[in-house]
């Protein structure tokens, strides 16, 4: 094709001060509220995700502490069953949906373009849209709770208890619509991550040079793409049952309550991997930096990550072993659940081998990552025990499972997340978190967590069912619950120290150097915090460890950072091929836009109308979406013309 005007040959330059100043101005947002609402900067979005998810963690944590006070002794009357049931439902919902994935989206949004050596995500406006919808959906899910109308049937919301007959109040409607709303955000985010991975890596970052943190998040998001529809649909069908009298789950109309459970767990189990695989990949990425060597068996760990997600779609029935299924079916799902342990073992042994053959530096981040290995194993083997069908008939729905889920979600999500924040705080905020406070932070959290949650295994083995608001004396549960409550408060204190550390550091901390830990990946080649444009010239990647090449014995190639393609006509990044990451196009990225916020508000309108059954609001909001989307996708006149033309 010879249409010259649509082509350009970018020069290769070494950026000068003036050039960088120009780039900084080009990529920065206008000041004030306008800039704040219209930005599409992935770093700002990432930080907003981190802060918002932490606020939800804080709220969910407070709910947990109230429950722990109620359960500290037998026959307590601090809160009644009505409030308690809302507390545990909102706690589960908040932690699993509004904290665990969004916090990882925060990491990924901030870090992906930096690690991939580019300037933005593939869809910057969609990125901003996912944040607004997450925020609004989170707020939506909380509108009932302050007035005593929160959902009170647990986060897995089994019908018929959640159906119109046994739960007519608005709590379950809010939860159902909120979950569909949040699903839009999650799915849009997943699409963005996958497109970013396959389209916008820096030139030279062939598929074998993609750092492991990217793989973990990528695999999780591919899983999300196929898992989230199941739960969105499930909640939509429930909403139809509740509002229009349909019979999906209604026995007398030919429906079946187990349909709910199948759809929910087809989503639910992959979701667990969606919220732990990215966190595990944070460990795989950062632990080696603090061990001063590359990760052992990097490729095997990546393959294990992929295998985990694939198998993760075939084990959902192990959440339903007590529902009276045929023995053959249970045997199959039990076997699949045993097999899924194998890829996890790959990660664990790779991490241990990395510590053994490395030269560990005992930073706070390292402590969190090393602790994660142990907590992961505890959470893993308790999962392995529940995979055994007959044993699961005893374990399921007791505190043993509560202990398991907390070792998984706190051990494999919260610990790597806090460690990751110590690790990447120089990039997030340009400062170094205080290591002395970090010591207190780690030990309070680690000891508090184990004192609090390990005894839950035992109260489970002694037969304490989950989701009971009180229990009688004389069953041997009282002392264990008291210990759990004490541990929970210690753990909360640890989280408080973390928050204090962040605040103190932001106010008084010292400026961080560009690469304080001597990290190996591209984000450490930028300043701390990175400039708005991330990279003055786009790097050309030569290996898996761009910043360690001169010091590793064998390195396949050399990364070039100091000179590269001059892409400075508005927001430009190179698009690259899937496998070899050869630049094959100059992508024109959109700048600031109000379209994401408008769309998010319109979707909120749709859901608010549905909740209140004010159909005209929903209808009006849906109609308004068409012009809003036209505005969003309106083709840029710049694109498709030569630079000369567009200047003229």
């Amino acid at each position: 094709m010879a249409e010259v005007p649509t082509y350009r040959t970018p020069e290769v330059i070494t950026p000068t001060r003036d050039f960088l100043d120009k780039m900084e101005e080009m990529w920065s947002d206008p000041p004030g509220i306008i800039g704040w609402l219209s930005t599409v900067d992935h770093k700002k979005i990432g930080r907003r995700y981190l802060v918002t998810a932490f606020l939800f963690l804080f709220v969910g944590g407070l709910e947990a502490l109230i429950m722990r006070l109620q359960l500290a002794q037998p026959n307590e009357h601090m809160v009644g069953p009505h409030l308690y049931n809302q507390l545990f439902s909102m706690h589960g919902t908040t932690m699993i949906f509004l904290y665990a994935l969004p916090i990882l989206s925060g990491f990924s949004n901030f870090l992906w373009p930096l690690i991939l050596g580019t300037r933005d995500m593939a869809f910057p406006r969609l990125n901003m849209f996912t944040y607004w919808t997450f925020l609004l959906a989170g707020a939506f899910m909380y509108i009932g709770f302050p007035t005593g109308q929160g959902t009170d049937v647990g986060w897995f919301n089994y019908v018929p208890l959640a159906g119109p007959m046994y739960n007519p109040g608005p709590g379950v409607d809010i939860f159902s619509l909120g979950m569909i709303f949040l699903g839009i955000s999650t799915t849009a985010g997943a699409i963005n991550f996958i497109a970013t991975m396959f389209r916008t890596r820096a030139p030279g970052m062939s598929i074998s040079r993609v750092p492991i943190m990217i793989w973990g998040t990528l695999v999780a998001n591919i899983g999300i793409l196929f898992a989230v529809p199941a739960v969105s649909l499930d909640f939509f069908l429930l909403w139809l049952d509740r509002r229009f009298g349909t019979d999906f789950f209604n026995v007398s109309g030919g429906g079946h309550p187990l349909l709910w459970q199948h759809l929910f767990w087809i989503f639910g189990h992959p979701w667990v991997y969606a919220i732990v695989l990215p966190a595990m990949s944070i460990v795989s990425q950062c632990l080696p930096v603090h061990c001063r060597r590359p990760l052992v068996a990097n490729s095997a760990v990546i393959l294990a990550t992929i295998l985990t997600m694939v198998l993760g779609f075939g084990v959902w029935v192990h959440h339903m072993f007590a529902t009276g299924l045929p023995v053959i079916a249970m045997g199959f799902f039990s076997a699949a659940s045993f097999v899924i342990v194998i890829p996890s073992a790959v990660s664990v042994f790779a991490w241990v081998a990395t510590i053994w053959t490395g030269r560990p530096v005992f930073t706070t981040a390292f402590k969190f990552f090393a602790a994660e290995i142990i907590l992961f194993v505890i959470g893993g083997v308790s999962g392995f025990m529940t995979a055994a069908v007959p044993l699961d008939w005893q374990l399921t729905d007791t505190y043993f499972v509560v202990a398991h889920i907390h070792y998984v979600l706190i051990g494999i999500n919260v610990f790597p997340v806090i460690g990751g924040i110590y690790h990447w705080f120089p990039k997030f905020a340009g400062k170094m978190l205080n290591e002395k406070l970090g010591w207190w932070n780690f030990w309070l959290m680690f000891i508090g967590f184990n004192v609090g949650f390990f005894p839950m295994h035992i109260s489970g083995l002694l037969g304490m069912p989950r989701r009971i608001y009180t229990y009688p004396a004389g069953l041997g549960w009282g002392d264990l619950n008291l210990v759990t409550t004490i541990g929970a408060f210690l753990f909360a204190l640890g989280v408080l120290v973390f928050i204090v550390n962040v605040v103190v550091t932001l106010l008084t901390g010292k400026r961080a150097p560009a690469n304080p830990w001597d990290g190996d990946t591209l984000e450490w080649s930028t300043s701390s915090p990175p400039p708005h444009y991330n990279f003055g010239v786009i790097p050309h990647v030569g290996s898996l460890h761009p910043l360690w090449e001169d010091r590793l014995e064998k390195s396949e190639g050399r990364t070039i950072l100091h000179e590269g393609l001059k892409l400075d006509e508005e927001h430009e990044i190179p698009g690259t091929t899937i496998l070899d990451a050869e630049a094959d196009v100059i992508l024109k990225m959109p700048g600031k836009s109000f379209a994401p916020l408008i769309m998010a508000l319109l979707i909120s309108g749709v859901f608010i109308g549905m909740l209140l059954e004010w159909w005209w609001i929903s209808g009006a909001a849906m109609c308004a979406m068409f012009p809003a989307l036209l505005y969003w996708f309106w083709p840029s006149a710049e694109v498709g013309r030569s630079p000369k033309e567009s200047r003229a």
């Binding site: 052992v296 009276g324 097999v339 560990p360 007959p390 304490m464």
Partner: protein
Amino acid sequence: MKHRPPLVRRTTLAAIAAALLLPGAAWADLPMTYLITNGAAANPLAHLGWGLMGLSVFVIVFIALAVLIGIWRGRRSWPTDAAGRPKLLPGVNAAPFVVIGVCVSIVLLFGSAVWTFFTLAHVSQPPKDPAITLDVTAHQWWWEVEYKHYGQKLRTFVTANEIHVPVGEPVRVRLISPDVIHSFWAPELFGKMDVIPGQTNITWFEAAKAGTYRGQCTEFCGLQHAHMAFHVVAQPPAKFHQWWTHQLADAKQPVSPAAQQGEKVFLHHCAVCHTVRGAGGPDIIAMGKLGPDLTHLMSRHWLGAGTVPNTTGYLAAWVENAQSIKPGIDMPTMDLTNRQLLDVVAYLQTLN
């Protein structure tokens, strides 16, 4: 593994467990544990549980030690770079370590899976065809128990929240839910089976020795899920037969004047929801089906599905204002005078 483990082994297990888990606590005080069991449907599960738990503890200790030793090894002084960090260590190939670890894991997993499948096959059917069939209906938030078959006999009666069974006889249980999902579970005797509307699940159990075993609903079923317990009373066959015959009989006519007054009160205030077989006359009978059958109320040890013991004081409190004991249940606060309350309690206490 058909028989329960010999006494020595059981005691040893208990001792180890007590030492590990709960110093000073006696297993007798742990009525809901499933680590020490008393029935053919639960014993293989307990063995599997101990086995997999032992393996799990071993794995945890092994990996934790590996991490700690790795860290301890790392505490030596390495050659440092300009910033004072240990110099970067170029690739030492440690992949064989991972391969060995994964291979050992696969072997252990395979063994566990085989053990699991044998256990599953072993407990999925009772050792012999059960002589007794029960229909257990789980309500929000109590258990209705209907005795169907007993040997060749086909006579039925209904009771609530307390299941009597003969020792050494397998019992088949059909699980029915008219409202939401519950789960039927008495850990010392059998693992959970969900009670699901629109589907009748069948399970079985067999008590190995006489005693009272506690059970509880374990699938969250609403406001009073916490107060939905039941008890299984295992009795020697002769005693069970005696109990069964007694339960078949109608309630005796009250003798004392207070109880006779109480029956009238009962028939007017309570009979809409509760059954007492044999109460009343030709114009009014007590055949209500919404609440538990009270024909032999005083043969039961608990009130409100294991919520409070069946004593005079609790019984009176329950009749007067059950909502204060178990808020949210269907039983309304009864608008009775003191006299009526005393009479009706006197009547109820004749229902032995």
